[in-house]
């Protein structure tokens, strides 16, 4: 049933089926999300600046999610030697990098009026910057080695080593005194964000993930085509 997640041919077929509906759904979600953001109330403290959050938080989540997906696929790829894992790793690393850049830029734009600075070296900001560096190294590694097998496995091992950074990013705000605020939404407690702001945030998150998914599908399909001779 979930074969399309590991088999290139089945993935191609699956992608062909869902691609057009996906585009329709995505455009609808984006429109609804932007409308909701437009209609969402101003914060009692931040005023209009709160709306940067609707870009910042989804891109941060997706930057982490992309890396988590790459980690899972690397484990699968190294353990079962599935070529599709390495296709995924190559295809979605730039997407994660773009989301990380988006997260850092929007955070910076929010930080200047709110905190009074573009950038501080606190634990959360530093660890996300390191995530960006890791993404960039992964992209570089794709163009470094001559042998394909070497390239793929090296990247997978490197991704696994770099995944130490994920829990550090997540828990940095709880472990250390940081300028960055702790998470507003967690499973254990009721969110400390009002429902009228939570709704647009969630819709925007879905919209961002769908856009990421569309780009990922296109890149993965291109990658499969390029490797047709090897698969």
């Amino acid at each position: 049933m979930f074969n399309f997640l590991i088999n290139p041919n089945k993935f191609n077929k699956f992608a062909d089926v869902i691609f057009k509906p996906l585009i329709v759904i995505t455009s609808l979600t984006i429109i609804v999300g932007l409308l909701l953001v437009y209609l969402s109330p101003l914060d009692y403290q931040q005023g209009l600046t709160v709306k940067i959050m609707y870009i910042h938080v989804p891109s941060a989540w997706l930057a982490l999610l992309t890396y988590a997906i790459m980690t899972i696929y690397s484990v699968i790829g190294l353990a079962f030697k599935t070529p599709f894992s390495f296709i995924i790793n190559k295809a979605i690393a730039p997407i994660g990098a773009v989301f990380t850049i988006l997260c850092l830029l929007s955070g910076s734009m929010w930080g200047k009026p709110m905190w009074g600075t573009w950038w501080v070296w606190d634990a959360r900001l530093t660890s996300v910057a390191i995530l960006l560096v890791i993404y960039v190294i992964i992209i570089f590694l794709n163009y470094t080695f001559e042998s394909r097998e070497v390239r793929e496995k090296t990247i997978a091992i490197f991704i696994l080593i770099g995944s130490i950074n994920l829990p550090i990013i997540k828990f940095s705000v709880d472990w250390w005194n940081t300028l960055h605020q702790p998470a507003s939404i967690s499973k254990l407690s009721s969110p400390s964000i009002d429902i009228s702001m939570l709704q647009p945030l969630l819709v925007m998150t879905v919209a961002f993930s769908l856009v990421g998914l569309i780009i990922a599908i296109l890149r993965i399909k291109a990658e499969i085509l390029m490797r047709k001779n090897y698969l």
């Binding site: 109330p41 009692y44 959050m53 009074g116 300028l179 605020q181 964000i193």
Partner: protein, 146 residues
Amino acid sequence: MSLRFQRLILILTTLVMLSAALLLILFNTKQNIVFFYTPTELIENKITSGVKVRIGGYIKKSSIKKKSINSYEFKITDNKNEILIFYNGILPDLFREGQGAVIEGSINDQNTVNASKVYAKHDENYMPASIKKELEKNNQWKKEYK
């Protein structure tokens, strides 16, 4: 010794190492890397004057005094101790009374600091302005730091 046995031993050592590392890190993160200190920590540690520090806390209610354009004086508190801050410069948007802030500057003497930079700290609460008014009307608005 066979390859499998060597691997087994190595896997076990790795697991022991990683779990020890996890314990060490989880039990020791709280105290060490600090972006800022609270006023109580600062006073208790008796840092010599002239040292650069970051202090985090809440801005005491009705303590902000504007001395001239872009020159301010206010108090940072953690409900136990407070520290007087002098600052020349532009304050960030979020800087208001009762709000969290981080101040970077050098210590003059025990309880006063010359700030070179002021960051406003935002908490994890997001709330529409209208609801806050509503809450305040019904006297349900709670603010811990006054």
